[in-house]
């Protein structure tokens, strides 16, 4: 495990790939590697990309990655697609749109299933970010699953969050404004070649104006046509501007602290869940408590209390 971490830190792609697998599978010895990885991380710029299904996120990411390559940066891409809650399987198709990036040694793409996590991310995403970061990637782009309203966890990990929309959503922007619309550092209206772009831009802008206070950074709205490579330079400029803004205003450390907090919570959550539900001793206790809840001998709250008491001893 340690050897794998050393190789990953030296930029060995195979070691990076294998470590990511261990992170996804919650390998019990992963922490040995992550100790080393963490010492080498914290340098990379993290860009989160979220938005409705079919908005063109993968195509947009491919273009953003190519633009960063032109600017001399190396790029890691984490592309997340949903895992079936019924079979546990997943069809990960983001590489289809990123085919052109496959042969570039300065780009590392990893497709991941959500594996039961809600919120648009996957449990291992923190580890994977740190691994890519430590392996020397300058920019890490995280693509969430196609989201509706509640999948807003991306802001916990990204320095800059892009919300991607498309023309033709019309009044539905009203309906999604409560979740998704609150987390954008930059709005991107993709498929700008589709009719209705002006109206969509205007709707988003007026929504931003409503909540805007003087002296506060105003969320920019940019139009792109990723398939035609239009608006990409401007978009990457806007991402860089936002980065300068969070560095200048001193909010970058806050964002990083939030990420480490979310990571810590996730690690503890995983460990606790494994302990309570997988370890034999506890599993037996849980089973017997479920039986007692069923027989009205106890209630779920008291049962939970009993389990937690057992843990704290």
């Amino acid at each position: 495990m340690k050897d794998l971490a050393e190789r990953a830190v030296n930029g060995d792609d195979r070691a990076v790939a294998r470590l990511i697998t261990h992170a996804e599978n919650c390998h019990p010895d992963l922490y040995e590697a992550m100790r080393i990885i963490h010492r080498h991380g914290g340098r990379a710029q993290v860009i989160g990309i979220t938005g409705v299904m079919g908005a063109g996120k993968s195509t947009l990411i491919a273009e953003i990655a190519l633009e960063y390559r032109k600017r001399g940066k190396t790029v890691g891409i984490i592309a997340i697609d949903p895992t079936s809650p019924f079979t546990g399987g997943a069809l990960l198709g983001d590489r289809i749109r990123m085919s052109r990036l496959t042969m570039d040694p300065g780009i590392f793409i990893r497709s991941m299933g959500t594996r039961g996590m809600l919120g648009g991310l996957t449990g291992a995403v923190y580890d994977v970010m740190e691994i890519m970061d430590a392996s020397g990637k300058d920019v890490i782009i995280v693509e969430t699953v196609g989201v509706g309203q509640a999948e807003v966890d991306i802001i916990k990990i990204a320095d800059t969050t892009l919300v991607v929309l498309v023309p033709g959503l019309g009044d539905s922007i009203q309906t999604i404004k409560a979740g998704l619309m609150e987390i954008a550092d930059i709005f991107v209206v993709n498929k700008a070649d589709v009719p209705g772009i002006e109206r969509t831009m205007a709707e988003i802008e007026s929504m931003i104006d409503l909540g805007h206070r003087p002296g506060v950074r105003k969320t920019p709205v940019l139009a792109t046509a990723a398939k035609e490579c239009k608006g990409i330079t401007e978009l990457v400029d806007a991402i860089e501007e936002h980065r300068e803004f969070i560095v200048g205003s001193g909010s970058l450390p806050d964002r990083r602290r939030k990420r480490y907090e979310a990571e810590l919570v996730e690690i503890i959550r995983k460990r606790l869940m494994t302990m309570i539900f997988d370890e034999k001793v506890f599993r037996e206790k849980v089973e017997s408590l479920i039986g007692r809840i069923e027989g009205k001998e106890t209630d779920p709250y008291s049962a939970a209390e009993e389990i937690l008491d057992g843990l704290l001893k």
Binding site: S84, L91, T102
Partner: protein, 131 residues
Amino acid sequence: MERKIRVLVAKPGLDGHDRGAKVVARALRDSGMEVIYTGLHQTAEMIVNSALQEDVDVVGLSLLSGAHMTLFRDVTDLLKEKGMDDVLVVGGGIIPEEDVTPLKEAGIRGVFGPGTPLEDIIEFIKGNVKG
């Protein structure tokens, strides 16, 4: 520790017919595997690079053009070269009977022609994947 089988499904070469690949990809997904579909027109180098980054247990190749003797072998050769010969390689498509043995000798351990029941492919993968 939960371990999921990860499979890369790829279409090498110029053949643009991907219905079979998609049917297989879907069946593997429904059997609980994580399937990475790369899309059409992949070179052997692209397939092996993707397999490396995705750290897959299995590479599934689909080809209907008749170029399997060259393109499938390019993939296994390159995997060997990169020290990734522990990856299980399977192939499917229009493959004449007499090509099956040479393909297997070249490291394509499972060869599935038209009409193969999807369960056979799933079982073969589950039975032959390492560790």
